[in-house]
Symmetry: none
Subunit: 216 residues, 4 copies
DNA sequence: TATGAATGAGTATTCATTCAT
DNA sequence: AATGAATGAATACTCATTCAT
């Protein structure tokens, strides 16, 4: 009898599990290749080969190169959001703890060059594919907003006025973080991400006490 | 007959001029396409076509795609160096004038998104081609050094201590400028380059008076 | 649970019914796609998808694309034979009734462009697959013979001599019918199938009274 | 000196000649393959291979598969037009000569199965590609008109009334000719194209003397 | 029986590059 | 110096077919 006992997950789910494993391996292969060779320099054949599958396997899991990029975007977002909310949660409203948390986050960025490179590839591709841009923009704004909130709470805790719109400052920090990551690869002897903290401290030091309006 | 008399110097120079024109048109076409489609998305055929020449004409002037990229890098460098030295020259040692000059420079960056995109493409390609990386690194360091000098003179004029290595700060500014340019394209409603100045003012405000050592 | 009790005959027959339904839906999907996209332009995936099944379901019912084509051939043959024998039966030996019947048949062909297109696809495929050609030839000859008999009886009833072999004339009529159907699709403002009857009437008018031999 | 003497055609034209030869070989290869394997069954790789060139050579001569089909259509048209006008020219207004000419033409069709098959492929493709249909329709109508004129002159010369619109009768003859060619390949023992003449003679015999109107 | 993930060979098309002209 | 036809390898993607479930 070809019947399957729905109570037995081992047989029923092994198929789904197997496919999930395939998908996962393809995604990881794509991430590595996109980071090191860029969108244009990464072929689907390469992705499938590195994952140890045929090209057809790629196409039964994704509709094309942009599709797997969207999946990477989704994961990138989740990862970043988790990191930021961790900083927020760990430090509560204590400004010192928050600063320390951000320092940790900046140091983290320093090591996770991959995500930074991927972010740049995603931004570049968003600029070139309108369809992808839509998806990307949503993620980006959410990300900028989260970092902006963190900055707001930090300055509030320090009794300082934010010198510009929170999301504008957040954009500046993200831009610098990504730009530095990009530099680090081509010029490995450049400055680390401690520069980021130098700028943050400068911003704090230069910020007016609460009461004045933002300046930008 | 389209023959040229080799004894006639005027025609000989017109030949050289004609070749220079060809080269120029190819470079400009390559710049536009690289900015809008990226290195991987730009084919030599497209470059030649947009310039109004055959593919063979491209190969008569450049040895390949990387070769024309090097030419673009050289021009990018010249352009940036000229801009920075203009800021330096115009303002002498007056801190106020220098700050105003930098503000102008930041505003300039805001408009010249093309150069920023090209810079990112160059950085990405440097990461992928060791041969290109060598050439790129030289230009990059020179550039960073020039901007660092400007910052040194600026802080000196203001009687302040640089909060970090000049070239590290320069790297940070360049990273932010490029990162912001990238963001601006995918998210056009984001913040302008005034953010750059906010950070610079913060750095100045937070900088210790001369005497203490740098902190990074 | 989706299990079926094998001891229950009603469910067993419903299984057979279900399979027959699957088969039927696949055949109909294949017919539509073959007519509109041709043999080469129709993929098994498309057939299964249009029928609402998986590709595996197709292979559970047919051994390949040619197999389902054979099934379509069988049905085509049955349909045509039924139509012709209906004309024969309805009209008995009365020449007038037979002519009227044929006129009806021609008009029918005019509407059923699908079968004509399918017939052309079948003929084309027969030319390309020897295995299929064998099956096709049998059907074709039977068909030609049936139409030939009809013509024989018609001319006999009219007291005329057939101007050529019955099956040769039948072949001519079928050729014209299919060719006209093909034309009608690419050139919809062309002549209808009344042309067929014009030719038939011409044949009758030009036929010698019984006694002389055929001329071809 | 790289100058070329424009008076010497051998060097200047050898390039064009060489390309024309390439193009010609590709067209001939495409014709053969399209006739024997159909549009869907013919790949560009096959065409290039049979012609002895690379796939790239195909693409420097044609923009795609449909493009070479259009070229074949053009040649088919020219060929058919030439054949029909030859029949017309050779026979003047003499009905007998014209009939003999047509008989020759029918016999010719019998041998040139290739063109008939190609015509069917063209018709099928016209049905599936709107862009191609436009080009095809023009050719088709011209062809039908030419054959219609021939029939008009023939019947006029015989003092008979055409039993239907000239172009409708022409469509019928062309349909039969193509349908018979198709049959001949799958059923080689079928009737030859003499059937065509039987139908033509029937049409003439059944035609009313001049004065009555057409019947369709 | 029916599923659909996976395969491997195939499809059309584009690429950087060469070379006779 | 500039042309552009031709190459051969690469590209994204589709195909018929298999097989564990």
């Amino acid at each position: 009898m070809p019947c399957v006992d729905p109570a037995n997950p081992s047989s029923r789910s092994s198929r789904a599990e197997s496919q999930a494993r395939t998908r996962e391996r393809l995604i990881e292969a794509a991430r590595q290749l996109l980071v090191s060779h860029g969108f244009g320099g990464t072929s689907i054949r390469d992705i499938a080969e590195r994952a140890g599958f045929s090209q057809g396997a790629f196409y039964s899991n994704f509709s094309g190169k942009e599709d797997i990029l969207l999946e990477l975007l989704r994961r990138y977002m989740e990862d970043e959001a988790a990191q930021l909310s961790a900083v927020l949660d760990r430090s509560g409203d204590a400004a010192d703890a928050m600063l320390a948390g951000l320092e940790l986050w900046a140091a983290e960025l320093d090591r996770e060059t991959d995500w930074a490179m991927l972010s740049i590839e995603l931004q570049l591709h968003a600029q070139r594919s309108p369809a992808f841009a839509v998806a990307f923009l949503g993620v980006w704004e959410a990300h900028r907003h989260a970092l902006g909130q963190l900055l707001t709470r930090l300055f509030h805790g320090l009794g300082r006025q934010l010198p510009a719109e929170p999301s504008a400052l957040a954009a500046g920090f993200m831009a610098m973080a990504h730009g530095l990551a990009l530099q680090r690869l081509s010029a490995p002897d450049g400055p680390g991400d401690c520069v980021l903290m130098v700028f943050l401290r400068g911003l704090i030091a230069g910020a007016a006490p609460r009461g004045d309006g933002p300046g930008c």
